[in-house]
């Protein structure tokens, strides 16, 4: 399950458009995988991903 899938499972009300600028998931292609670079959603708190 990708980081995006985990977040969508937690917050199913999110839309793909939210991930263009409001929420920024990022992968630097350096082998470290996906991570949350920015979380600026007005109501939903940034999740703690384990």
């Amino acid at each position: 399950m990708t980081l995006y899938d985990k977040i969508m499972a937690l917050y199913p009300e999110l839309q793909p458009q939210d991930f263009l600028t409001t929420i920024r998931l990022q992968n630097d292609s350096d082998g470290r995988g996906d991570y949350i670079a920015d979380w600026n959603h007005p109501t939903l708190p940034k999740p703690e991903i384990e």
């Binding site: 990708t2 980081l3 920024r24 998931l25 990022q26 992968n27």
Partner: protein, 163 residues
């Protein structure tokens, strides 16, 4: 040291490497860095995740300022650079978008396509000639491979005005 004749004031002494933009006549192009890189093998970002696009092949790199191992352009001449990039995915999708990063943070967003396969970003960036670097990131709504190739998935830049 190079000695040149200046038609209006006499003889000027100009050291190699000390000519700046103000010394050039209007319309004279310099010989600043220019590069063109492209992706030769595809990569598959996760859905809705801004992923650094890798451009591992070069068409040209006049000043050896582009690094194919990091897909970064770090020019050694300070100035204003025209930067362009295009990223194409394999199949039509939505929320395809490209962005230009400077020093790890987004500075320019590219076109956003709701139904297409590609996105293009182009603009100017000031780079300090030592530590500043630029990279290209892209995102797509559904995880899928890029459609690599020269002239298809590419990253280019050129110095248009010295600092």
């Amino acid at each position: 040291m190079t000695v040149t004749i200046n038609g209006s004031t006499g003889i000027d002494k100009v050291q190699d490497g000390t000519i700046v933009q103000a010394d050039l006549a209007t319309g004279v192009a310099g010989t600043g860095p220019a590069f063109s890189a492209y992706q030769s093998s595809g990569q598959t970002p996760s859905s809705n995740t801004w992923t650094k696009i890798t451009f591992t092949s070069e068409e040209f790199d006049t000043n050896a300022n582009y690094d194919t191992s990091t897909s970064r352009f770090t020019p050694t001449v300070a100035g204003y650079y025209q930067i362009s990039a295009s990223v194409q995915f394999a199949t039509a999708n939505y929320n395809v978008r490209t962005s230009l990063y400077k020093n790890g943070a987004v500075v320019l967003y590219g076109t956003s396509s709701s139904t297409g396969v590609e996105s293009f970003v182009s603009g100017l960036a000031y780079l300090n000639g030592s530590t500043d670097y630029v990279e290209v990131y892209a995102t797509t709504a559904t995880s899928q491979a890029t459609g690599p190739g020269q002239g298809v998935v590419y990253f280019q830049g050129v110095l248009v005005r010295a600092a």
